[in-house]
């Protein structure tokens, strides 16, 4: 017995000596075998946390950062950069830096291009169950149709949800016009009766298992769903789809900076990048692989979401208000 305890203590001591890399990412957004390879290769301990949304990981970092590396969307990268949370990327530390499309970097991470390395990018479109829809869906505003009462899925990302609502009203998804945003809020409240759930976790299986009629989904999820069954169709609505790009960032003042560079370098290795894109169903920055299921479809009017600075805060608040309203309603109906 005592022998056992001693043994455990020795082990835990040696574990403490081991380097630990702490990473945050979104769900179904990695190939676990890649992680295993990285851990094995570097003989480290990996702590890999999964967050539902940009907002969730952002709040954690805002409070207390104990991550070495996080993967977040471009608009949140700007935010973190503005808050001086990010380490400027030293390209010389990355052997595979040439695999990055710098053009993509410039266009999609406009003001934070020196602080991030692109991870994956994709789109947000509309998926629907052909069996549960009377008339084909072609635009965002079709979600407001009466027939979808309590049957649609909405993402838990405030900017995404406001983005498609603004689009449905014919405004820019990145609008900073308060009036337009207010209108979008009111329009969103009108959508409440049709919403079955607001979620961003494991959307692929969640959408299939819970019989949603329609929903806004990431292209990767859409790919997963369509692979499962022919009953589903994914479209880019006429008003225009949303486009997003996620990047890896190294947080400031962390001990394991070198390990973080190693991880980035590991991810942007050509082979690994391809594997990542294939497993997740999203695209990588360079054009080696065109993975997006709708890459050939019409992406006219589509917009990349950007950081809207101050107006963003009001969107977080409004989204929270909207969710509260929805929940109240939801509980009442129950």
């Amino acid at each position: 017995m005592r022998y056992l305890v001693c043994l455990i203590m020795i082990f835990s001591f040696s574990l403490a000596e081991q380097l630990t890399l702490k990473i945050s990412n979104f769900s179904e957004y990695i190939d676990i075998e890649l992680l295993k390879d990285f851990v094995y290769k570097n003989d480290i301990k990996l702590v890999y946390n999964i967050h539902e949304s940009n907002e969730a990981i952002f709040k954690k970092i805002e409070e207390k950062n104990d991550y070495d590396l996080v993967i977040v969307s471009s608009n949140y990268i700007s935010k973190l950069k503005n808050m001086d949370k990010l380490e400027e990327i030293d390209a010389t530390k990355l052997n595979n830096y040439q695999n990055i499309d710098t053009n993509f970097l410039k266009t999609n991470f406009n003001n934070s291009k020196d602080y991030t390395i692109p991870y994956l990018w994709g789109t947000i479109g509309l998926i629907y169950n052909k069996n549960l829809v009377k008339q084909p869906i072609t635009k965002w505003s079709d979600l407001w149709r009466d027939e979808f009462k309590n049957s649609i899925l909405i993402s838990n990302e405030p900017t995404d949800v406001f983005g498609i609502t603004l689009k449905s009203l014919g405004y820019s998804a990145n609008s900073t016009n308060i009036e337009e945003i207010d209108k979008a809020y009111n329009k969103l409240i009108e959508l409440s009766p049709n919403i079955k759930d607001i979620s961003s976790t494991n959307i692929g299986s969640y959408f299939i298992e819970n019989n949603f009629s329609a929903g806004m989904v990431f292209s990767g999820d859409a790919k997963l769903i369509m692979n499962y069954s022919n009953n589903f169709d994914f479209i880019y609505p006429k008003e225009g789809a949303l486009k997003w790009a996620d990047g890896m960032v190294i947080l400031k003042n962390q001990r394991n900076k070198d390990l973080a560079y190693k991880f980035i370098d590991f991810i942007i290795d050509e082979k690994n990048m391809t594997r990542l894109a294939n497993t997740t169903g999203y695209d990588i920055s360079n054009t080696l692989l065109a993975n997006d299921i709708a890459i050939n479809k019409n992406l006219k009017n589509s917009e990349i979401l950007v950081d809207r600075d101050i107006s963003n805060i009001s969107i977080e608040e409004k989204f929270q208000n909207f969710k509260n309203e929805y929940k109240k309603r939801f509980l009442n109906e129950k």
Binding site: S14, L15, S27, K36
Partner: protein
């Protein structure tokens, strides 16, 4: 009531209360003792039930664990568990979810592969894949929906095959570890494992669970509430496996606690008892508290012995019964208080009230108000009888009292009458004075003038007292010799000695005649001269005797010339030829000074001789005299019968000694009356009767009282005494005075303040004097009185 006496109600109530209390306390005590015994018995039964129940629960719980492990170990035939990781992990999840007592469930194979699901602190799935060259130890942490929220991975250093639960488990047997602290959760628990052997009796894989002891503690907590005590489970090594009192099962340095580490010595002592095979008894903790403990051996299919011990505070058992005891006592007290009021009412109504009324009856009897003694109203026979006998008693006392009064009154009357009868000179004085006094008292009673406002005889007793005093006012006269009271001449003493003196004159007369003849015989020639001389002598003797006789009467004031003449006459001598001691009584003989016989002897006509002085036979007791406040001058002798001394009395017939003797009657009156043990209602009699010779200005006797010292009743008797004496017609020694004359004399006395002026005025204005006069005075005494001049 005073003097530590308690009222009837209090006594009865204390009696009944004490009886009831004693009864209820003995009953309650009996119930209490039985209750405590019953509680012990019930506790023992409950104890057996709870411990049996517990061991069954735990055995069942562990039995379930064993069957779960069997399922897991036989789930796949494959030697490599990783090949079926998917299905195995699902089964493990379900098993973990199904049993709250399982902290963790895991499976390992001979390759060193290891799969585990874990409950605390968050759900987690662990996989160590030794088939993979990377050999990573991966943890997948789950949220409440089993969605992965975090993954950690690192190179595995863990080899399940080296663990006891893997190594020590044998074919078809269940391995039980000793309790220890889990390294994953740092919680104490035990590991149970079952192995899967192939047909060649080679170990293929082992399934195991970590069974958290906290869960057993929770079961104990529930059961302890049922038992209202404490429960612990421990093993032979004195490791504490579970407690019901929320005690952490590990020490600060993450070791399992032992029985000795628990907060009371009773636990470690239990083990000693178990070693002595005493499975139920009492144990005392270090604070002296008694616990009843009960230990049962916990049956397991293998491994060491476990014991379940329960402890119940003996005080709690007793406290329950004691609570009932206190309740019962309070209820009985309440009932006693409740019945107090009706009992009090009933007693008040039927007992106390009649008793109080009876008491009032006796009070009435004590106060001599017999007419108020009437039967009381009561329903109780005895009280009724008592009240009737009270009434009878009151009547007989009243009768007796009346008889006493009559007896005393008759004695008083007899006494008064005997005084009156003793001497004709007082006549009907003692009979008439009361009548007059009563008349005057009635008049005074009606008057509201001045001092008389306060004079008020309201009760019969007061009247009787007054009347008695009036009757007895002269009772002292019984002892005064009537020859003094009635002394009518100066020389009187039993008889009037003027006769003796007249005889001496006769002797002198004859002596003169004899002398004449002697002289004639010698000188016949002087016959004529001698005849003349004789005649002169005889005439002188005659006139001298007349003078003496007149002095004896005492009707007039005797002036100094008369006294001188008296002394001159007394010096006339005569020859006594006979022995004056012959024929005397012993007493008289003793008084004669000269014992020598010398006859014939020449004696003065009148003499104050030694033998005339009568000394007091009994000396006056001066202490007593002063005590009574008598202030009269006491003469030296009892009597002085000296002839010259008596005849030279200036006024009246009485000597100083006689006057004292007469006045002594009032002293005797007072002394006699004071010595009579009068009842309370007659206590003023001596004062009323003894002050009728006092004056308002301190010149009276015997106490020389002043007006304020004398009661009005006594003043009334004084007036009555004087008026009767003045108007009495039955005194042989004096003529009765007329009404007007008497009143006039009295008015002088009023003026001299010898009598009370206000009473005298009432005496006149009320017409009492006339009422009396008409009844007792002769017609010719009653004349016209102008009372106005005296007012």
């Amino acid at each position: 009531m005073k003097n530590n006496k308690y009222t009837f109600i209090v006594s009865i109530f204390i009696l009944f209360g004490a009886l009831t209390l004693f009864l209820s306390i003995s009953l309650i005590l009996n119930f209490y003792i039985r209750g405590v015994n019953q509680s012990y018995k019930m506790l023992e039964e409950k104890n057996i039930e709870v411990t049996n129940n517990l061991s069954t629960t735990i055995v069942e719980s562990l039995g379930r664990v064993e069957s779960q492990l069997k399922v897991l170990s036989k789930l796949t035939e494959d030697k490599n568990i990783i090949a079926n990781e998917d299905i195995i992990s699902r089964v493990m999840w379900e098993q973990l979810k199904a049993d709250e007592n399982i902290a963790s469930i895991f499976l390992a194979d001979e390759y060193g592969n290891f799969l585990q699901t874990r409950r605390e602190p968050v759900f987690a799935y662990r996989s160590i894949n030794k088939m993979d060259e990377r050999g990573l130890d991966c943890w997948y942490y789950k949220d409440e929906n089993y969605i992965t929220t975090s993954i950690t991975m690192n190179k595995s250093t863990y080899d399940p095959r080296k663990r006891d639960w893997y190594k020590l488990v044998e074919n078809s047997k269940t391995y039980w570890s000793q309790p220890y602290i889990f390294d994953s959760t740092k919680e104490p628990g035990i590991t149970v494992s079952i192995a899967d052997y192939d047909k060649y009796n080679t170990k293929i894989k082992v399934a195991a669970v970590d069974f958290t002891l906290d869960k057993i503690s929770k079961i104990l907590e529930q059961k302890a509430q049922v038992l209202n005590g404490k429960l612990i489970i421990f093993n032979q090594n004195k490791d504490v496996i579970a407690t019901s009192f929320g005690m952490s099962l590990k020490t600060k340095d993450n070791k399992l606690i032992k029985l000795e580490d628990l907060d009371s010595s009773i636990y470690s002592n239990t083990m000693k008892k178990v070693e002595e095979n005493v499975f139920t008894n009492e144990l005392k903790d270090e604070n002296g508290k008694n616990y009843i403990y009960f230990v049962s051996k916990f049956e397991k299919s293998s491994g060491e012995n476990w014991y379940i011990a329960s402890y119940v505070d003996k005080d709690i058992i007793v406290a329950n019964s004691r609570g009932t005891l206190i309740n019962s006592v309070l209820i009985s007290l309440f009932i006693i208080i409740l019945i107090y009021f009706p009992i009090q009412f009933i007693l008040q109504r039927f007992v106390t009230k009649p008793i109080n009324e009876l008491e009032n009856l006796t009070n009435e009897i004590v106060a001599n108000r017999y007419e108020n003694v009437k039967p009381i109203k009561t329903v109780i026979y005895e009280f009724n009888q008592l009240s009737n006998s009270f009434v009878d008693m009151a009547k007989s006392i009243q009768r007796h009292e009346q008889e006493q009064i009559n007896l005393i009154d008759s004695f008083i009357k007899i006494l008064a009458e005997s005084i009156d009868a003793k001497s004709p000179y007082t006549g009907g004085h003692c009979e008439r004075v009361p009548e007059l006094a009563l008349l005057l008292a009635e008049a005074a009673n009606d008057s509201n003038k001045g001092e008389l406002k306060e004079f008020n005889f309201s009760t019969q007793d007061e009247w009787r007292e007054f009347k008695t005093a009036a009757w007895l006012h002269d009772c002292g006269k019984v002892v005064v010799p009537e020859y003094i009271v009635d002394k009518s001449t100066k020389l009187e003493s039993i008889y009037n000695r003027i006769h003796e003196i007249r005889t001496r004159f006769e002797v002198l007369h004859r002596d003169a005649t004899i002398k004449f003849y002697e002289k004639l015989f010698l000188n016949p020639e002087n016959k004529e001269q001698l005849e003349e001389e004789l005649k002169l002598n005889h005439e002188k003797l005659k006139s001298d005797f007349e003078f003496i006789a007149n002095c004896n009467i005492g009707g007039e004031f005797l002036d100094q010339d008369s006294v001188n003449k008296l002394i001159e006459i007394s010096s006339i001598t005569w020859m006594r030829n006979f022995d004056n001691r012959l024929g005397l009584g012993e007493e008289e003989l003793r008084r004669i000074e000269n014992q020598e016989p010398f006859v014939p002897v020449l004696e003065n006509l009148l003499e104050d001789k030694q033998e005339h002085i009568i000394h007091r036979i009994r000396q006056i007791n001066l202490d007593e005299y002063n005590k009574f406040g008598f202030k009269m001058d006491i003469p030296e002798y009892e009597r002085n019968l000296g002839e010259i001394y008596n005849l030279s009395i200036k006024r009246g017939t009485l000597t100083q000694e006689d006057r004292f003797k007469i006045n002594e009657h009032i002293i005797m009156t007072i002394k006699m009356l004071e010595n009579i043990p009068f009842t309370k209602n007659l206590k003023n009699v001596p004062e009323y009767a003894g002050s009728h010779h006092e004056t308002m200005i301190g010149t009276g006797y015997p106490r020389k009282y002043f007006k304020e010292d004398i009661s009005i009743a006594a003043r009334i008797i004084a007036i009555a005494d004087i008026f009767e004496a003045l108007t009495a017609s039955d005194r042989p020694y004096k003529k009765a005075k007329k009404l007007s004359e008497s009143i006039k004399i009295m008015s002088f006395m009023k003026k001299d303040e010898h009598i009370d002026a206000e009473l005298f005025e009432i005496f006149l204005t009320s017409g009492v004097y006339m009422k009396y006069a008409k009844k007792f005075l002769t017609e010719d005494q009653i004349d016209e009185v102008d009372i106005k001049q005296y007012l």
